[in-house]
Symmetry: C2
Subunit: 192 residues, 2 copies
DNA sequence: TTGCATATGTGCAACTGCTACACCTTTTAA
DNA sequence: TTAAAAGGTGTAGCAGTTGCACATATGCAA
């Protein structure tokens, strides 16, 4: 594994990181809406147009790449421990990604930022839902159903929609329980 | 019931209608993104600033008021026929509002507009979800559960999220079946 | 090393949704 | 009749985003 894959690659990565770092720092300081993209570009010492060559929107500056999430979802379904239901496996994944952030004190600032910025929550929901089709297919394959089975599609949609709902709830842990109680019982009487 | 409730009211209503009509006509003609708000205001013969006194956003030009939807949801839960489950009653309401549009040929243009404009679908989803809390409370009251029961909140959320998912699906009728099969079985084993 | 094609970055100007402001006109009500 | 209140106007401007023409840096080949 080459660490230094050419100066060009390294500079690109550095620029990208500088932008993301500057943006997050400014957002945490003063709030998402109070910081303009021109200011972020300035802080990272690049032109505004350059910023948009790295990040398609202002919101995307806040989130890491989600490379691997599609695979993580498929793996959660495929490689789950024997005796674990699909819904339980997905619950564990959501719990890991969402609820942990609500108890980790290092994420407090980040969490507050998300809480007070609907645009960011919407963006994150979209990132989850990008994998709706592939999760539906994985669930269908696991259950031995046709890949376009509508109940699998519905389950996949609700699971991927849930992180947003859960972290916006007053008590996220209880919300997680509620969501997966409903889905688990619904799914088990369909598939089991 | 006064038909003519003062010249002022009538003029306001006429301006509002002129804006909505002009907007829908232009959108259907050329697509949502290809029409600017300045052009819509021009077509309705008002200033751009006036347009935004009637409609808070460009998207809102497309949709009627949703006055009464909150009440319709509460009524669907409260006044349902004996022997009908809460989920079935809500299914009927969603079916009426969503699936009918998919079979009515008069709505074909409107439907295409929605299909090709994610911003409009998101806006409509938001309109449904505005009643999430009140629906959750109605469901909880009906089931004799505390008003903040997380399973009721989850059910309400998924029901109100579903119209968007359903009408975006390749086969909306099958999607409707899938969604409500899942929710119905999940809910009945919790509440029944 | 030199030279060149290409990837990357720059600055400017513009467009789009949306808002603030100061002003004018119509309607309502005393 | 008059004055307040409501509605509408036009201008100017902001913020996110993009297109364009030009500059620079890099990787590769000779």
């Amino acid at each position: 594994m080459q660490e230094t894959a050419g100066r060009r690659e390294r500079k690109k990565a550095a620029t990208r990181q500088a932008l993301a770092d500057a943006a997050l720092r400014l957002f945490l300081d003063r709030g998402f809406d109070a910081v303009g993209v021109r200011e972020i570009a300035d802080a990272a010492d690049v032109a505004t147009t350059t910023l948009f060559k790295y990040f398609p929107t202002k919101e995307s500056l806040v989130f890491d790449e989600d490379a691997g999430r599609a695979e993580a979802l498929a793996a959660a379904v495929r490689d789950r421990a024997p005796g674990t239901s699909v819904v339980d496996a997905l619950r564990a994944l959501v719990e890991h990604d969402v609820v942990r952030r609500h108890t980790d004190p290092d994420m407090a600032g980040f969490r507050r930022l998300l809480d007070e910025t609907p645009a960011l929550r919407d963006y994150r929901r979209g990132m989850w839902l990008r994998h709706e089709a592939s999760l539906a297919a994985a669930v269908a394959a696991d259950a031995g159903l046709p890949p376009d089975d509508p109940r699998c599609a519905a389950l996949a949609h609700f699971v991927l929609d849930s992180p947003d709902f859960i972290s916006a709830a007053p008590d996220p842990v209880r919300a997680l329980d509620g969501v997966f109680a409903l889905l688990d019982r619904g799914w088990s009487t369909l598939a089991g």
